[in-house]
């Protein structure tokens, strides 16, 4: 963690600002993965449309700054307004998608969340005023009055870093609260929870909305980081990537999604540096982790730790 905090300093010293950008992306995707982990890892709700909220957050920033520049409406470039609107829209969207989807189970749940995500994807594609399929370039980043201007890559990095810590702490508190215990209980045995008299559907819906909101905030950060918004942000492959990160890192653990996101992006950068055909190594690696991992990288780490202890 301390190492992560020092990334921009080191990057500045060795004059490689690219690494700040790369690690910034890892932090943002980590937040996205943490939010998905809340419902997927702890609640057993496999949403295949989680990137929608990333897209909503991104488009709030994209559309806001677009009007701030084009029409000179300065409040539309305000970062606090971006965050607020992103939170509200993500919550409403999650409420809508969740209230219908949570009536289904298993693979049907996976596919209905995908269906809604695709609908939002195509709405963005069809919206010509904001670039349609071609996307929208940001001509400025979110501004938090005069206190914080995200145009500086380092300030953005530290905002990402702070929010990551905040959401890690939040999810730690949440999963150990009464609410969290209920959600986890419903994952292992839904019938029993219902029989005891807990409104499982309502609890799940609340969790679904919380996850959506956090991911929406990640979307706000993501748009600022890439200076560009396009429907591709909510393409199903992005939702898939988020799932892969969570499963790879270890679902249902606190740090699993962070490990997964960092490992995913690091392997991508590292392996693609070695060979153009890096996916031919990455692919079988995923297969092996799925077959032998049982709990992703985090699971492997835990077992290594145990083995170490026993050996001692």
């Amino acid at each position: 963690m301390l190492g992560l905090a020092a990334v921009p300093l080191i990057a500045d010293v060795i004059d490689e600002p690219f690494y700040t950008v790369m690690f910034s992306r890892m932090l943002i995707l980590s937040i996205g993965a943490i939010s998905l982990n809340l419902i997927l890892g702890f609640g057993g709700m496999v949403s295949f449309g989680h990137a929608v909220y990333m897209g909503i957050g991104s488009y709030v920033v994209g559309i806001g700054t677009f009007h701030a520049i084009e029409d000179g409406i300065s409040w539309m470039g305000n970062g606090l307004i971006h965050l607020t609107i992103a939170v509200v829209f993500s919550a409403l969207t999650a409420l809508f998608i969740g209230s219908i989807s949570l009536r289904t189970r298993g693979v049907y749940f996976i596919m209905i969340t995908l269906a809604f995500a695709q609908m939002f994807y195509f709405i963005a594609v069809g919206n010509d005023n904001y670039g349609g399929d071609d996307g929208l370039s940001l001509y400025t980043r979110s501004k938090f009055y005069n206190i914080l201007d995200l145009s500086n890559d380092n300030s953005l990095y530290y905002l990402n870093f702070t929010l990551l810590i905040v959401f890690l702490y939040f999810s730690h508190r949440l999963i150990n609260s009464r609410f969290g215990i209920l959600i986890r209980g419903a994952k292992s045995n839904e019938k029993r929870m219902e029989n005891i008299g807990f409104p499982v559907y309502r609890y799940r819906l609340v969790a679904f909305v919380i996850a959506g909101v956090i991911c929406g905030i990640a979307g706000v950060l993501s748009a600022n980081q890439t200076d560009f918004v396009s429907p591709a942000v909510m393409h199903w492959t992005r939702s898939g990537d988020l799932i892969i990160m969570v499963v790879l890192g270890g679902m249902g653990t606190l740090f699993g999604p962070v490990i997964g996101a960092v490992a995913f992006l690091f392997l991508e950068e590292f392996l693609s540096g070695i060979t153009e055909f890096w996916q031919i190594i990455f692919g079988p690696m995923l297969v092996l982790i799925a077959i032998f991992g049982n709990g992703g990288i985090d699971g492997i780490l835990v077992r290594l730790d145990k083995w170490w202890q026993i050996k001692k």
């Binding site: 693979v107 049907y108 995908l114 609908m119 195509f122 679902m251 692919g283 049982n294």
Partner: protein, 307 residues
């Protein structure tokens, strides 16, 4: 309304539908019997297309290429099952997603190494390369007609296989009650390998038939995989009949949306708006359909009995 256009679009919908059915049939069987989410099904479709293009270019005959591609895909599928897939049946769906996603990456790069990044072409034989006259002087591309015919023949053969043979009986039993057939002393490993090989051959056949109209290239399996998943979920996982009807439904919706939506929208909004909104809305239709069906029937249209 222009009836000739309507008829032609129905044919187009049918053609897309049977193509989707070939993919969906294998996927829904694998899903229903082995309880496996196989994202790599699209990769088998891609491999089918590449093999077909390669064999056709070697032998300079589309039909010989076809005869070589199907067994090759079947063997490939069985090998894949024995090497990798067999190990993940008992794992959670998410581990399966991770593993088969890894396989997609692997196959995409494998194809790039072997065949290069550019993609291949299939030269159609003369008799399939033109258009033929249907009734009332309507002309329709011969190859698309061949796809429809092949798709319907396969559907009939599958029906006969599943409802009138011993293998089919086991498949039906497997789809509705997995524990039962293993308790009956059936060689479950062999059954799984055969079903997976069968699914691979069907995916390969779909790839082969899509190849001449949709270009053979890396990643061609991913978009159609999602549509195929939509089909099997609408139809009800494990149900071949459901997959068939859902495939036709999705095929029609997609084609009709593309061809008539701009005009329909034109009644309500200005032409400019209709022109830009129509492509997006028509792409959305299949997903709206799926969401509606699942909202009303959370198990799909034809859930297999006894689950």
């Amino acid at each position: 309304m222009n009836w000739i256009l309507l008829l032609e679009q129905i044919m187009n919908g049918l053609q897309l539908g049977v193509l989707l059915f070939l993919l969906a049939a294998g996927l829904t069987l694998i899903f229903g019997i082995m309880d496996l989410i196989n994202l790599a099904h699209g990769s088998l479709y891609m491999l089918g297309a590449y093999l077909a293009a390669t064999f056709t270019n070697w032998t300079e005959s589309f039909f010989v290429g076809l005869l070589l591609t199907l067994p090759a895909c079947m063997v490939l599928g069985m090998l894949l099952e024995i090497i990798a897939i067999r190990n993940i049946y008992t794992r959670s769906h998410l581990d399966q997603v991770l593993a088969t996603f890894g396989l997609i990456l692997f196959f995409n790069e494998f194809v790039r190494l072997l065949w290069g990044p550019i993609g291949l072409d299939i030269q159609l034989p003369e008799i399939l390369n033109g258009s033929v006259e249907l009734i009332f002087g309507i002309r329709y591309p011969a190859f698309r007609l061949a796809i429809i015919a092949a798709g319907i023949i396969v559907a009939i053969l599958l029906y006969l296989l599943v409802s009138h043979t011993k293998l089919g009986m086991l498949i039906r039993a497997g789809a509705s009650n997995r524990q039962m057939i293993s308790a009956l002393g059936v060689n479950i490993n062999l059954l799984y390998t055969i079903v997976f090989g069968l699914g691979a051959a069907l995916a390969g056949l779909a790839g082969l038939m899509a190849a001449p109209i949709m270009t053979v290239e890396i990643g061609m399996g991913e978009e159609i995989l999602i549509l195929t998943l939509v089909v099997i979920v609408i139809g009800g996982v494990g149900s071949i009949r459901g997959a068939f009807l859902a495939a036709l439904l999705v095929g029609f919706i997609d084609t009709v949306g593309r061809s008539f939506l701009p005009d329909i929208l034109g009644f309500f909004v200005t032409n400019d708006v209709a022109d830009t909104a129509a492509p997006a809305i028509s792409s959305m239709l299949t997903y709206v359909l799926m969401a509606l069906i699942l909202a009303i029937r959370p198990q799909g249209l034809f859930p297999p009995k006894g689950v």
